[in-house]
Amino acid sequence: MGSDVGFAVRANRLGMRYRGTWALRDCSFELAPGTVTALVGANGAGKSTLLVLAAGLRRPTEGTVEVRGDVGFVAQEKPLYRGFTVAETLRFGRATNLTWDQDYAEHLVGAARLPLDAKVGRLSGGHRARLALVLALGRRPDVLLLDEPLSEMDPVAREATAGTLMVAVAETGVTVVLSSHVIAELDGMCDHLLLLDRGGVRLAGDVDELIDAHRVVVAARGADFGDHEVVTAREGERQVTALLRLAGPPDLPEASPPALHELVVAYLRTGEAA
C-alpha cells in the first residue's frame, strides 16, 4: 500500500467531534485502488463517521480525508424515496448522475428480482438495501463506500450481493470499503482490514499478511511466549489460549494462524478491556 501505486482513499490525522465527544480521532491510513476493505469495530467505534467524512457529506473537525475519483455512498439507513417505484428510482438515478449505466442498473435490478412497479416503501428491508446498492453501483463510481450493506439481507441475498460487488471489482476495479458486524461474511470478500477502536485505527493492512503475523496458541498456564506480543489471552484451569502478534519467526508448537473473525474479535476484546 505504498504511495508509489497511488491511493484511492487517504486519511491523514482525521478527527471528528460531535458535541464535545470525539467520534474519530487521529485516523491515518491509505487504501490502494481496487482493494476491498472491511471496516470493522464495536458500536460507536467511528465506522459510520469515517464513511460519512470520506463521502464528503460532513467536514472533519481536524485532519483530512481524500478520495480519488467519483464516490458512491450507501448510508446505513439506505435512504431512498419511499413514494417512488423501483423503475422511478432508476430514472431518478439516471437524471441525477452525470455517469449512469442504465443497462447495468436494469441488469442488477433483474438479478435481484426487484419488481419494477413496486413502491420502495413497500419493499422489504433486504430489497431496499439491494436497490440502494443498485443506485450506488449504477453510476459506476471509482470508490464505493457502504455502511452495513448486508445487514438486512437474508443469506441468499447476501451471497448474491457479495457476488455482484466482487464482479464489479473484477470488471471495473472499483475500490470498496464496507462496514459490517458479521465478520465471517466478509471473509473471502475483503483483502484489507481497517479496524477502529474508540475512534482510532487499531489494526490496518492486507488480510493475509495480518493473519500471517498472528498465531492462536494453546499452552499450559504461565507459558512463556518470548518476544511475541500477547493481544488477548483466556485462561482456563490449566491452559491458556492466546492470540499472539508475532515478533519474529513463528517458533511456537501448537500454534495456528487465526481465522479472520478470531483476529478481529481478539482486537475488539482488548478494546473492551481497556
Binding site: E159, M166, V169, A170, A184, G188, I211, P257
Partner: protein, 125 residues
C-alpha cells in the same frame, strides 16, 4: 476447466485454497500444459470471492513456475505435475486400491483409514 470450491470455515487463506486446488488438478492431470485457468471474473462469478485473491493465487502459481500469464489472453498452465504413479491405470494406484479394499474388509471406516494413511505418510515423507 477447473471449478473452485471455497471453504470459508477451513481457516486456510482463500488464495492458498485456490493454489492447492490448481496443484491438485495438475497432479491428477485434470488440467495440463496449455490449458487456460478461469479468469478472475469467472472465478468471482462462480464463488463470490474477491478477484484480487484470485490474482494473488495466480501470481503464486506463476512464481512457482506452474502457470504463465499471457496479457489479454488469460493465464495458462506451463507445467504438468502428473507423476507416473498417479495415472488411472498405474500399478501404484492399483495396489492402493487393493489396500483400501482390504482395510474396508477389516471393518475400518474412512477416518480409521485416513488416520493410518497419514501416520505412515508422516513417517515416510
Amino acid at each position: 476447466m477447473i471449478e473452485f470450491r471455497i471453504d470459508r470455515r477451513s481457516g486456510v487463506a482463500t488464495y492458498l485454497q485456490l493454489v492447492h486446488q490448481v496443484k491438485q488438478a495438475l497432479r491428477l492431470g485434470l488440467v495440463g500444459p496449455g490449458d487456460r485457468l478461469p479468469t478472475a471474473k469467472d472465478v468471482v462469478a462462480q464463488t463470490g470471492i474477491n478477484p484480487n485473491t484470485v490474482l494473488k493465487a495466480y501470481r503464486e502459481l506463476e512464481r512457482e513456475g506452474l502457470v504463465e500469464p499471457m496479457p489479454g489472453l488469460g493465464t495458462f498452465v506451463r507445467r504438468s505435475l502428473v507423476t507416473p504413479g498417479v495415472a488411472e491405470d498405474s500399478p501404484l494406484r492399483g495396489e492402493l486400491l487393493d489396500w483400501m479394499d482390504r482395510a474396508r474388509a477389516l471393518g475400518m471406516g474412512r477416518e480409521d483409514v485416513e488416520a493410518l494413511f497419514r501416520a505412515v505418510l508422516d513417517k515416510r515423507f
